[in-house]
């Protein structure tokens, strides 16, 4: 059976060009970047080049980029690294932020979770009114991983700047899919991850604006300017950097391609199936995200039927009597729990085609029809 992967917000396949670029760094250029001999220098050169590539893509300087093990570590480093003071964040952050905030609350730190509107948008005014004398950090994600809503980070950045507060944004989902310029957007700290942009897993970076004081999580050797001890993952970093340059190179064609497929999917579903709602913002959303809510059916059974047809999607929810609770993001939008259960996230990628979306549109109405026919909630 042909399989169709529509879960690119979860992770992506590593681009073949990225794999090719990485290969020599396992077996030939395998030195430790801290070593003084030629093996070490070769590794150091690759590391420096990778750092420059990531910096350029963000409008930053190379010495402002710290390589980490991924988005989660970058988020932890930013939030824990600030050390003290009140934190303002949003109610729809990724668990890498939310659970770090809960941990910090457990250690006596105060955290304010600003709400979002029904499209998943943070109101910068709410952020500003949450500021207290003790506020040290504002952390609001750039684009949401479930619904794709893109936040007004520039506005929040200037509010933070006006009040002399640090601003962190989790750009794991937006990096490579929207324009980012840390200077123009007044961003002090920014998290990115390689495996969401066709790079290898287990690599990411935190941008730390020059002059911002962050305490490291890892103590050991002086790697990464003392910010992250441990021998650098050169092959991973080289792969990440290659993925970044491909994303920059293909930015316009990717955006056009993804937006086209996304809109084809949304319009096609709306045309062929009744009682479907788009979750998230209608226009301020990632080009590859279509999060759709199908009334009267439950998401997991929809997902399983699609899986049986070879189509891979995700659902943010399962019944609340199980350990899995309804998505905190969809709850924050004010959607009724019974409606949340029927939500499915399709996230498209560079390799998807119109004929794949066509196939989804072909099988989906029948699946939804079948589930609705057995649903006690559907009329008739």
């Amino acid at each position: 059976m042909k399989r169709i992967y529509l879960d690119h917000a979860a992770t992506t396949a590593v681009d073949r060009e990225v794999v090719q670029t990485m290969m020599p760094y396992f077996t030939e250029t395998y030195g430790n970047a801290s070593s003084l001999h030629s093996f070490g220098r070769d590794a150091r050169n690759a590391l420096d080049a990778g750092r420059q590539t990531v910096a350029d893509a963000l409008g930053a300087q190379a010495n402002e980029i710290i390589f980490t093990s991924g988005g989660t570590e970058s988020d932890n480093l930013a939030l824990k690294g600030v050390g003290k003071g009140h934190i303002i964040t949003s109610s729809i952050e990724h668990p890498a932020i939310l659970n770090t905030c809960r941990y910090l609350e457990g250690h006596g730190r105060e955290v304010t979770y600003v709400p979002v509107d029904s499209d998943g948008m943070v109101d910068p005014g709410d952020v500003e009114s949450a500021i207290t004398d003790d506020t040290a950090l504002i952390s609001v994600m750039h684009a949401n991983n479930e619904i794709g809503t893109i936040q007004p980070v520039s506005e929040i950045g200037s509010i933070a700047k006006d009040h002399g507060i640090l601003f962190h944004t989790d750009a794991v989902q937006s990096f490579g899919k929207t324009e980012i310029d840390v200077r123009k957007m007044n961003i002090d700290l920014l998290s990115v991850s390689s495996h969401k942009i066709y790079g290898p897993k287990g690599v990411g970076a935190l941008y730390i604006r020059k002059g911002v004081k962050i305490k490291p999580l890892m103590h050991g050797g002086g790697h990464e300017m003392g910010m992250r001890a441990s021998t650098e993952n050169i092959s991973g970093i080289v792969g990440f950097a290659k993925a970044v340059s491909l994303a920059v190179e293909r930015f316009e064609s990717d955006t056009r391609h993804l937006t086209g497929l996304r809109d084809m999917l949304i319009a096609g579903v709306m045309d062929s199936i009744d009682d479907v709602t788009l979750n998230g913002h209608p226009t301020e959303r990632l080009p590859n995200n279509a999060n759709l809510r199908f009334a009267f059916v439950e998401g997991e059974s929809l997902l399983m039927h699609l899986d049986m047809k070879g189509i891979a999607v995700s659902t943010g929810s399962a019944c609340s009597s199980a350990s899995l609770n309804p998505s905190h993001v969809l709850l924050a939008l004010g959607i009724a729990p019974e409606d949340i259960h029927g939500s499915i996230r399709f996230t498209l990628g560079r390799g998807n085609t119109e004929s794949e979306i066509g196939y989804v549109l072909e099988v989906l109405p029948e699946i939804v029809g079948k589930l609705r026919a057995m649903s006690p909630l559907a009329a008739g």
Partner: protein, 122 residues
């Protein structure tokens, strides 16, 4: 999470889906807010379940257990059907993932509710 072949089969091809108009007993359990709800309809003749149908809003395990429950209950006496437990249903499906055990409550409870409604009426 791995579902057994039998769960997948009953999920993809559920038996006895639907409603029975003027059923002898109807039982509904669950709550759409929690993400699951099952209704079981039965027809009873001479103390036996002669027809049974269900409707479910829920996950794959909820659908599969409802389907299996109706299959097991069909033809049973009311006492036999009342004695059916959720474990019987889960066993007949070659087991359920641990987080999904609660899903099998739904169908067994809905069946029992339908029988009780019938007994209360008759």
């Amino acid at each position: 999470m791995d579902y057994s072949e039998k769960v997948l089969d009953h999920f993809a091809n559920p038996r006895n889906v639907g409603e029975i108009s003027d059923a002898d007993g109807v039982g509904t359990v669950g709550n759409p807010t929690c993400g699951d709800m099952t209704t079981v309809y039965i027809r009873v003749k001479d103390g036996r379940i002669t027809d049974i149908k269900f409707k479910t809003f829920g996950c794959a395990a909820a659908i599969a257990t409802a389907s299996m429950t109706t299959e097991l209950a069909l033809g049973k006496t009311l006492d036999e059907a009342l004695a059916m437990s959720r474990n019987d249903v889960a066993d007949a499906l070659d087991g359920l993932p641990p987080v999904k055990m609660h899903c099998s409550n739904l169908a067994a409870d809905a069946l029992h509710a339908a029988i009780e409604e019938y007994l209360a009426k008759s």
